[in-house]
């Protein structure tokens, strides 16, 4: 209990906000029912302690997952996965829920998906699109056919079952916008509520392609990961997922929220990023620039995943970690910030005041541009 209070305003989240909302809701409901004072007090206490307990469970499980997730706990660079082609997921059901905002957010989300895609039969990708965003839908169709084509080549036009057995399934879900451009702010809470209700449906609806037999339906009952990168709708969906977990509808080890801050955000977080950070509902808060690692505690540096693959800093700046290189471990690193500058083991990043030395190293490998 004390730990979660300690974590308020940062990693743990503004528990008080939730409790206040809950209190108001319960009080209003109780007032409508015209309960007597002691009964009302008991009800409020019961609800609040239930919520607190559940929140505590969630925070503890998240901390445990994080602790497991970054094996080299404590500091420094960690390689997650082996480059020898181990399919991390294998055939387990993997249900991703991607929230697509408009324009640049969609571009970055698609790049992230391309950077992380591996054809596997157990995948299901659900894309949550805001209504009226025809451009994202069109580009999404392009992305999915690109994924098909890249994985299957000329066989991409085969039967649905064939494609599904190799690259998994996908569908879309449209929810209303949380707030349209130029919409008056006072109406925003109402439209957000409408969006929230639809978001509940987006998370709760089992994908049709996976609803065949009972076993499969169980595997894909809830999304495993909710990935979002910037739009306000993403925060709504993430919040809804968290509240569903809080009320016990969704089990603890589902609906993990991964928020990846935009590539264009170098020194500060976007509004959505700040909302995610201060409410603490993201299981993993990823940033694409290491500067942010130093400014915000508990965020994870994930590299420039929103940038196009060819645009990532060349291999010269992601050298293999000496001790892992022998066995071909991956060089893509996930670092954890500790409220100060990230310290990477490879020494290329975030070494303040390296100056000339760093530049000379870059030149030694033939210029960082020759590997574009």
């Amino acid at each position: 209990m004390l730990e979660s209070i300690d974590e308020m305003g940062g990693e743990g989240g503004l528990l008080g906000v939730f409790l206040a909302l809950l209190f108001a809701f319960v009080a209003a409901a109780a007032a409508a029912v015209k309960l007597s004072r002691p009964a009302l007090a008991t009800l409020v206490v019961a609800v609040c302690s239930g919520v607190l307990y559940r929140h505590q469970t969630l925070v503890a499980s998240r901390r445990r997952a994080r602790g497991n997730l970054f094996p080299a706990l404590g500091r420094g660079a960690v390689s997650v996965g082996s480059s020898r082609g181990d399919d991390i997921l294998g055939r387990v059901p993997a249900y991703f829920l991607f929230v697509l905002g408009s324009g640049g957010h969609t571009t970055e989300m698609f790049e992230t998906i391309k950077n992380s895609f591996l054809p596997s039969p157990g995948q299901h990708r659900r894309y949550v699109i805001t209504s009226g965003d025809g451009d994202s839908l069109r580009r999404l169709l392009g992305l999915e056919s690109f994924l098909d084509w890249a994985s299957l080549g000329s066989l991409a036009s085969s039967s649905e079952a064939f494609v599904r057995a190799r690259v998994g399934t996908r569908d879309t879900f449209t929810i209303p916008r949380a707030r349209r451009v130029h919409q008056p702010l006072w109406t925003a809470p109402f439209t957000s509520l409408m969006a929230g209700v639809q978001a509940v449906k987006a998370i709760t609806t089992v994908p049709g392609q996976r609803a065949g037999n009972k076993e499969e339906r169980e595997g894909y009952r809830w999304p495993h990961v909710i990935v979002t990168n910037g739009p306000g709708t993403g925060f709504i969906v993430g919040l809804v997922g968290y509240l569903l977990k809080l009320f016990g509808i969704v089990p603890v080890d589902r609906c993990k929220v991964v928020y990846i801050e935009s590539w264009a955000r170098i020194n500060s977080l976007s509004l959505t990023g700040r909302m995610f950070y201060w409410t603490g509902i993201a299981d993993v808060f990823g940033v694409q620039h290491e500067v942010l690692c130093g400014k915000y505690k508990g965020v994870v540096y994930v590299g420039e995943v929103g940038a196009a693959k060819g645009a990532r800093r060349g291999p010269a700046l992601f050298p293999p970690e000496p001790e892992f290189a022998r066995l071909g471990f991956t060089t893509s690193v996930v670092r954890r910030g500790f409220g100060r500058t990230c310290t990477g083991d490879d020494g290329f990043y975030a070494r303040e005041g390296v100056g000339e030395e760093e530049k000379l190293r870059v030149d030694d490998v033939g210029g960082d541009f020759s590997t574009f």
């Binding site: 991390i88 387990v92 640049g104 995943v305 196009a308 001790e323 022998r326 893509s332 020759s370």
Partner: protein, 360 residues
Amino acid sequence: MTTSTTSTSKVDPPPSPTYSSVETLIDKENPHHDGSQQESSPGRMKKNASRSINGMLPDNDNGTMPAATTNTDATCPDSDKGHDNVQHPNLDKSGSTSSPNSTHQMAAPDEAPVLSGRNCFVTIGSIASFLPLLEQVITSPFLTRLQVAGFKKLTVQCGPNLAWFEAQLETLRSGDLLADLQVECFSYAPDLKPYMLECRGEKGKRLAGCVIAHAGAGTILEVKRYGAPLIVVPNPTLMDNHQLELAVEIQRQGWAVHGKIDNLPHAIDKILQLIQKGRLDHLPPYRPAPFPVPEAERFKLLDWVVLTCYPEEFERKKHLLQLESLDKRQVQRQEAGVGAGSPTLDANLEPADAARMQLD
């Protein structure tokens, strides 16, 4: 220990040979020198090479650097015309000794053709108008500096201001400012890729040009992907801190130039230095990144987060990782010759092997 495996973690080994120094490049490719400075030119080359490493783009450019500390002679095929308004303190009178592109010009006729001049592409984006940038582009100092720097073509994406730009262009054409510079303009294009690729330098084919763009993240990423030298100009009128931060940061990272709207010619000088430093004239032909992404470079975080939803499965994989890291430490120690063949080491290896075989 690690040298042999660097290639496994790279996507592509750099196709162009990496020269250890500039003079090696010159000596390899330059069969003969013009002018009378043959004896001293290797020495001079060494000096220039070291200067090009040391005289790098500073992080905070206060405009105090001289216009060209590297030998921009290498990038100006017309430098022997002797323009007065540009200071080149280390200008080599015999221009061709130091320029890589001239070696191509002197190459055998059936090899690479004569390299075309540099192309400049100006884009203001597809959302808002950016008239101040266009105003700066059509000024005499900028156009002169472009020509001096070896640019032969200027393409401008004007957005809503096409008519205005064309009018300005007409008045300029009546003079002789645009004698050597071909200027084209259009308002919008659905795909800017061909224009950006034109500005990408290719070894033996094309000199690197530059793209002058507003500070939009999508545009910046696109230019970066195609490998064209980039000048980012934040729009001061609709600027929020965020755009300026982006421009400053990417200059700090060293792969683009933060151009200020009131001093575009200076940005051209800086981009030339960048082209020198990064050897952007000698890039391989553009190839889109391979997809699916090679396993070594794949972003695996999402997969691991899914795996945390299956505790047993996760434990298994984590155990596997730990075994492998233990294994490699054993191998390291063996290689270092510490207690090779000692009973303890062998004993430690066995469980790892056995466990790995089991899990497989």
